[in-house]
């Protein structure tokens, strides 16, 4: 004889959602995915990038971009990682990241943190003046020109780059390359290197 059915239990109304969170039957809570910017200081040594990217893929965290580069301390690199996850996932990603041995410190940046991306857009060289005009609209500039092509550089927020890329479609776009985001908190807040 199996155990009694749920409605015969001491508190039959008790229940959790699929994320293991106990829910009030009157007010079901669901967590929508949101975008988060994680900034991490890591030891600058071989293998760190693969360790971090491997973590995100094997735990199925939805990663939008990852940038890595040196800091003022040559032994330390900074990674900026954009993820899109429901709430428990973001917290979990932070904690799993912190657990990696080469990771020194991790924080989630405020939504209003300074975020910059860069795009290089190569278009046909037929209308260089028109290309320049559009580039100026997005604070961009031509960085290379030949008889057949013009390459324009644009930096800014993701939205601005999206708009710039869209605007350049009126020309003969030959190639586009975009970076992920680099981001820093506004104000005096910094990541602790001694963590």
């Amino acid at each position: 004889m199996p155990g009694p059915a749920p409605d015969e239990r001491m508190r039959p109304e008790g229940r959790r959602n699929s994320q293991g969170i106990r829910v009030d039957p009157e007010a079901e809570v669901t967590h929508e995915p949101r975008q988060a910017v994680l900034s991490a200081l890591v030891k600058h040594r071989p293998g760190v990038l693969s360790e971090v990217s491997g973590l995100f893929s094997r735990r199925q965290f939805n990663i939008e971009s990852l940038t890595v580069g040196p800091t003022s301390d040559e032994n330390i690199a900074r990674m900026t990682i954009l993820i899109e996850e429901p709430e428990p996932g973001i917290e979990q990603a932070k904690k799993q990241l912190q657990k990696l041995v080469p990771v020194i410190s991790v924080m989630e940046l405020e939504p209003e943190a300074v975020r910059r991306e860069l795009a290089l857009i190569k278009v046909g060289g037929e209308k260089p003046d028109d290309v320049n005009a559009v580039a100026e609209m997005y604070d961009g500039q031509a960085v290379d020109a030949s008889t057949d092509s013009v390459t324009v550089e644009v930096t800014g927020s993701k939205q601005k780059i999206d708009a710039a890329v869209e605007a350049f479609r009126q020309f003969d776009v030959q190639e586009i390359v975009r970076t992920g985001a680099a981001a820093l908190e506004r104000g005096p807040t910094t990541l602790d290197k001694d963590d």
């Binding site: 199996p2 155990g3 008790g14 959790r16 041995v101």
Partner: protein, 587 residues
Amino acid sequence: MSERASVPAEDEQADDESTEEQAPVTTGAQSVVRALENAGAEYIFGVQGGAIMPVYDALYDSDITHVTMAHEQGASHAADAYGIVTGDPGVCFATSGPGATNLVTGIADASMDSDPMIALTGQVPTDFVGNDAFQETDTVGITQPITKESYFANHSDTVGNDVSEAFALADAGRQGPTLVDLPKDVTQGETDVEPMAPSTPDTYDVPEEADDEAVQEAADVLADADRPVILAGGGVIKADASNALREFAMEYEIPVITTMPGIGSFPEDHELSLEWAGMHGTGYANMAITNTDCMLAIGTRFDDRLTGGVDSFAPDADLVHVDIDPAEISKNVYADYPLVGDARAVLRQLFDAMPRAPDADEWREQCQDWKVEFPMTYEMPDDEPLKPQYVVETFSDVTPDDTIVCTGVGQHQMWASQFWEYTEPRTWVSSHGLGTMGYGVPAAIGAKLAAPDQEVVCFDGDGSFLMTVQGLSVAVRENLDITYVILNNEAVGMVRQWQDGFYEGRRMASEYPWIPQFDKLAEAFGARGFRLEEAEDVEDTIQAARDYDGPSVIDAHIDPGENVFPMVPSGGDNGLFALEEDHLEML
């Protein structure tokens, strides 16, 4: 936890007058061995090979005992079991390429179960790395996801430090495996740099006590509970917190459920014990989990084999979760009261913070009633065929409390955990998270060397035993007094059980009609072999095997129709368990 790690190497050398002055190191390989000596390693389980030969050469002059295993997988499982039984990292060696890849299963196993282990692998010389050289493989790349950290040693001067750090890291905080990959030129290269004393990386923090306010809040909730339970996981044993758990539970009279890795953390013969919960856990433990209003969970990661579907797991419980790894908090089940810290330290804090014992007389009675309502039983026909549960139970009855039980993975593992009575920590040595068939034979070797004065029994299945049977040659050579009991049903029984239950009895690749005669196979290896078929012979056969001074193998031909119950189907509701085959259809 890592008492050894805090002892500087210089002191150890200076204070220990019994050993002669250690010669200064001259090569990277000697520095590797010195680092292991400084860390207190007594045994290494390994297999020789080209790229690791310099390290073996340095071992020639060391007091560390090397146990040559028959296969690298066995080396990693033996080291894992050694780590479980002693609490200190087990050490395994393998060469590059196939040696390293053969270790992988055991490393992954240690990772899933947080067992302390350090693996050292040979690697092709640095100049050859990346060229697809003979026996080259990207060992660090392969093992990074299944270790706490994998190190690539890049210089003879620092290779000893890499090993020291890896050893300390395996032992510190939430234990687990680490690996150091050793290119041949690095170990062969000259150096006079002595390795540093074992110490963890500067980026690695180990929490001790939990926040006092959070502890007080949790204690208040627990004291107010009507239906409290403790869920003790493997972390309780890893933190040497079994005594603290016993004191806490007995003082405040709170029923205790363990997870499978937590078996032995609380004595199963105590009235407050509900034994272990989960897919094949006791009905009473699963009932208590399903009906509790406050669960104190300690050192558990809420594996799906424990929780079933999380939506129905402890659905009405305030959850207090104690864990040393912050990443386990709210990973699978949301913790209302997270307490990050060492299990023993936090249990002591909770003990002091409890305002009173919970008023739970009625609840404790209810738990006792469930023991009566859903007892752990099996049918024991007077004659044929032999029941596996009877073999386990009989063995349990005649052996001392500190007997160590090792297992493979499958039905036999469940019967060994259900029908043996565990009362002491570090007496249950099994593969939980990874579920590695073949774990048993080499694990028993590691366990016996870790605890030579304790009796070691290994229950195995016919399928599981065959996967690592070559390890028997090691047990014979080392004359290890281990009793292997094969609960032989001529099948991969657990798979067959699922095929019968969930795949309409379509037994694809689960039956072994070609199984060898294990008693004769044992004799061929030089062990004693016994064939057991009748219930009336069980006691005598066990006695004869125990009396034999050396490894023995009992090939117990059990009822092939016997399946494991109770059972909560995968992803199911713990409160709805099948006690027999027919119940599965009702769930």
